[in-house]
Symmetry: C2
Subunit: 141 residues, 2 copies
Amino acid sequence: MIEGVIITQLDIIETPGGNVLHAMKDSSAGYSKFGEAYFSQVHCGAIKAWKRHKTMVLNLVVPVGKIRFVLFDDRKTSSGEFQEVILSKENYCRLTIPPMIWIGFQGLDSNVSLLLNIANIVHSPEESDRKTVDSIKYNWR
Amino acid sequence: MIEGVIITQLDIIETPGGNVLHAMKDSSAGYSKFGEAYFSQVHCGAIKAWKRHKTMVLNLVVPVGKIRFVLFDDRKTSSGEFQEVILSKENYCRLTIPPMIWIGFQGLDSNVSLLLNIANIVHSPEESDRKTVDSIKYNWR
């Protein structure tokens, strides 16, 4: 487990007409403050990689489909560790990612998957670094 | 338009592998503070009605499918007004609903629709009132 990463099991509450799926409360692990919430769609097989946030803490929830997240830690405190987490309704968790971790993700469902990020700051392009998918070697399968 | 209700157009940003869909920022119309974010699934044709929150401000976004929201205002300042809003990718907006409005919604997509509520307080059963669907007459079609 990469230092600072938190995986929190979330509740799914069965109700008539459609379930309620928890995402985050102000008392939740990984919550500090609210900056922005946004969705990313991920098509089947598509890989969105790599991105590293300098100050944003990400809180990721997958209410639709199945997404593989790959985290790569090249901070000075790390020996170059990878961590893979697959989120879906079957593993319905919130994935908290601290700043300065490289992040990539891949759609594993035959339909479009959806992730919600509840971030502590508003997104801005200056706040993140990008690398091409090939520049960090990983077996995406 | 019911007093206090806000409808805010949201951006959809086309990106390779799947679009990014905005939901809410700390500077957005309708945002006061963060209490809880949760999802509700709505099956095709299912009606979830009626519910009234005493203090919760709801901020509703529909990233998947199509949902009809019906609001009923029986506050003393109102003459018993209804307001209908249909949210989907085609009308990608955030619907902000103040406290003391009766709320019902219905899934209009052949697949399961999904709504995200970003609320100013944490959900608690004591904070809301419920009525059966038939107790407020509305033509759900």
